[in-house]
């Protein structure tokens, strides 16, 4: 038995998804070409293969879509909640039925492993529609007064890290509360939103209630600044979030922003070490670290530093990086060449500033965009890699001696989206969680999501909450 246990390739079949050579914009229930006739290509990050050609929305298209949404708003918002719920339940069920197809599509377009799209993204996408479908006829009981009213047309711009999940986070509560939607997916991952447009048609959703505009930042800007948009919802980078906040300042538009993060994952010396190591891995290497709430700063108590780091390096050496369609792949491709360049530049800065770099010994495929799981030790609060969001599979390790120091370091960031605490002592979990300035604090786990749980940030991580009962508020006139 000299040979090791090599797992034979176990690729998920591509044939379950039928990608058309080109797609139009989805406006008023129809796929149409962009007014200016512009198109762009979307590629598979793991192979750089062109998957499809997609219409590029311009200002005129944004205007058309907003008009369609405005027209649909009257009837849609006047429907009884129980009727809107039926559509949402239908969408949720279709998503479940087509989940394998959507999981493969998302993996192709985004580069993340099929394991994650299949086991995390798609179940959550369906769960969000089911959850908000349940609220549609119970808005009177949501705590926002009797008969709360929708806002109108929601302009939504979503990122490329969880394309379909972010769509669900935005569209499900908007529709449940009676709003209509114009959504712009990210330019590197437009396909699952277009498939969702098809699902809307399959569900018989009235025309204009959901409109999908594929395009670049200029289309997003035109959408959020459109005078007839009542509500802006954005998930993405802090820089763009700030620009949006400036552009809507002084208008009566309601805004929610889910922006960057630099989550602290705090490991105390009495933590369940083996599970903490798993949690650290989930915290920063889930979705190649391209997660706004990633636990990208590990704060480990000095007394267990060596033990934790040894265990972590050993664990990272077993991560399987490669073909995202292989069911055994743990780490997929970085979403785009631009993102890879950004990660690479920040890691070089980390090395230049004197932090010690360690990367898992894994072979990177020759085509596509890849970055090996990496960690930095000897990091201090002054290092760039401890301050800036890297949005890649790069973990910065800092140490602390006392709980107070852990809290001080965890909070010493311009962000405040997530944090994690690892300890066997329940009272410490409560005491520390209370002092952390973060929208979500996980205890002895990390990166767990649920539609019933509100999500959102402090400070430069944005404002407003998505998910749960709180997520309704952002789409109601309260």
């Amino acid at each position: 038995m000299a040979s090791a246990f090599e797992y034979a390739p176990a690729p998920e079949s591509r044939s379950v998804v039928d990608i058309a050579p080109s797609y139009g914009l989805f406006i008023d229930g129809e796929f149409t070409e962009a007014a200016e006739g512009k198109v762009f290509k979307t590629v598979s990050p793991s192979t750089e293969e062109v998957l499809s050609e997609v219409a590029r929305a311009g200002t005129a298209d944004v205007d058309r879509a907003v008009k369609a949404a405005r027209k649909a708003f009257g009837k849609w918002s006047a429907l009884p909640g129980s009727e809107r719920a039926k559509y949402l339940f239908r969408i949720a069920r279709i998503i479940q039925e087509r989940s394998r197809e959507l999981a493969v599509l998302e993996t192709l377009d985004n580069g993340k492993p099929i394991k994650e799209t299949r086991d995390a993204d798609l179940p959550l996408v369906a769960a969000h529609f089911f959850y908000y479908a349940g609220w549609a006829d119970k808005l009177d009981h949501a705590g926002y007064g009797a008969n709360p009213r929708p806002l109108g047309v929601a302009g939504q711009v979503i990122p490329w890290n969880f394309p379909l999940l972010m769509l669900a986070w935005k569209i499900a509560p908007a529709l449940a509360t009676g709003n209509t939607v114009v959504l712009k997916p990210a330019e590197t991952t437009p396909l699952s939103a277009l498939f969702f447009a098809d699902i809307c048609r399959q569900a018989g959703l009235p025309k204009g209630v959901v409109n999908i505009l594929t395009g670049y930042g200029d289309a997003g800007e035109a959408l959020v600044t459109h005078p007839d948009v009542n509500k802006v919802a954005f998930t993405g980078s802090t820089a763009v979030g700030k620009a949006i906040a400036r552009s809507v300042a002084g208008t009566d538009k309601k805004v929610t922003l889910e922006l960057g993060g630099k989550g602290a994952n705090i490991v105390f010396d009495d933590a369940p070490i083996d599970q903490a190591v798993e949690g650290i891995v989930t915290g920063i290497f889930f979705n190649q670290g391209q997660v706004c709430c990633a636990g990208s700063r590990l704060l480990v108590q000095e007394s267990v530093q060596d033990e934790v780091l040894d265990a972590l390096k050993r664990r990272l050496s077993t991560l399987r990086l490669g073909d995202p369609l292989d069911k055994n792949t743990d780490i997929g491709a970085i979403n785009s060449a631009e993102q890879l360049a950004r990660i690479t530049a920040l890691v070089e800065t980390g090395e230049a500033e004197g932090a010690e770099r360690w990367s898992a010994p894994c072979e990177l495929p020759s085509s596509g965009y890849w970055f090996a799981p990496t960690l930095f030790t000897n990091v201090t609060q002054a290092h760039t890699v401890a301050r800036d969001e890297i949005f890649g599979p790069v973990l910065s390790v800092l140490t602390f001696r006392t709980p107070d120091e852990a809290v001080a370091k965890a909070n010493n960031t311009q962000y405040g989206l997530s944090a994690g605490i690892w300890t066997e002592k329940g009272s410490r979990i409560l005491a520390v969680a209370d002092k952390l300035r973060a929208g979500v604090v996980w205890a002895n786990t990390f990166n767990k999501f649920d539609p019933t749980s509100p999500f959102g940030g402090y400070k430069e991580s944005g404002y407003g909450r998505e998910g749960g009962r709180h997520g309704l508020e952002a789409y109601l006139d309260v």
Partner: protein, 315 residues
């Protein structure tokens, strides 16, 4: 010879020292442990990897019969099967051992002589272990004299659960001394220890006391080997080797019946302890019905068709 690792000799100096040591081990978060075991269970093992895993699993089986109704004839039949698991395909690997009660050890030893298949015998008043130490040691002596290459002992769960850890430790060292050249597998009966923290502590007591193998269970209680408790024990032997250089084997027993399950356990070994443990010397399955499923899957891989229960032998 007890082989207490020098690095931890202080830990077993007294009951209180041992207690302090055991309670100083990192805790186990049950949710996280089970989630990790379940996640590894989703590995997709196909074609060549599956063929490798099936043969490896067959070679790791302690083919077991532990019934009051055991007869010499049954033991001889089992021994024949261990040596030649699939009469239709002589390339099938042998199992690692045949596991019997002490009174059947001589029969098994005679039947397996020269085959390379080991004789394992459950001793120490298996499965409850509720007998005086002298009786347990006599049981072990008996089995070793009858030709057992391996002794599967049960720990005193009563002593463990009432916090008398040193008693558990001393009993294991006494049994180990009685084993002579035989390798000692220490059974915790994880289903009775009830918490993961207890399983980790029991693992460390066993390893400190000189166990050659740590084993989940007797197969005689409701909860036997699970992916989670086996994962936990694999972490324990991994950590123990890192700390002392001493490698110890792991044997999940009871309830592993299908090829699919066995492959999941091998994935746990591969990704937790590592490939050094992917060897019958360091990992065993305590199972009896598992073998036939492995054989049927093996036939399926070689012929492309499923056969049926009549194409493998009944015992």
């Amino acid at each position: 010879m007890p082989t207490t690792a020098p690095a931890f000799s202080d830990a077993t100096a007294s009951d209180s020292a041992l207690r302090r040591f055991l309670f100083g081990l990192p805790g186990v978060d049950a949710v996280g442990l089970e989630a990790r075991a379940a996640a590894l269970g989703t590995r997709s093992i196909k074609t060549t990897a599956k063929a490798y895993a099936i043969d490896l699993a067959i070679s790791m089986i302690d083919l077991t019969t532990l019934e009051g109704a055991d007869t010499p004839g049954k033991v001889r039949a089992l021994a024949a099967k261990a040596v030649n698991p699939d009469p239709t395909d002589r390339t099938t690997p042998r199992t690692a051992a045949v596991c019997v009660y002490p009174d059947m050890a001589a029969t098994a030893a005679a039947a397996l002589a020269g085959s390379g298949v080991k004789v394992a015998s459950v001793a120490t008043a298996f499965p409850a272990g509720r007998a005086a130490l002298d009786v347990k040691l006599a049981d072990v002596r008996d089995a070793v004299a009858a030709g057992a290459d391996e002794i599967d002992m049960v720990i005193d769960r009563g002593a463990f659960l009432s916090g008398r850890f040193l008693k558990v430790y001393e009993e294991i060292t006494a049994v180990k001394a009685e084993c002579g050249p035989a390798r000692l597998k220490v059974i915790f009966e994880t289903g009775e220890l009830s918490t993961y923290d207890n399983i980790r502590r029991a693992s460390w007591i066993g390893m400190l006391a000189g166990a050659d193998f740590i084993k989940t269970s007797t197969g005689k209680v409701a909860t036997n080997a699970t992916p989670a408790n086996t994962l936990l024990m694999l972490e324990a032997v991994r950590d123990f080797r890192a700390a002392t250089g001493v490698q110890i084997g792991v044997k999940p027993a009871g309830g592993i019946r299908t090829t699919k399950d066995a492959v999941k356990f091998l994935v746990l070994v591969n990704e937790t302890a590592g490939e050094d443990w992917l060897d019958p010397h360091w990992f065993r399955f305590g199972a009896s019905s598992l073998l036939n499923d492995l054989l049927m899957q093996r036939q399926k891989l070689s012929t492309g068709r499923y056969s049926g229960p009549d194409y493998v032998t009944v015992d």
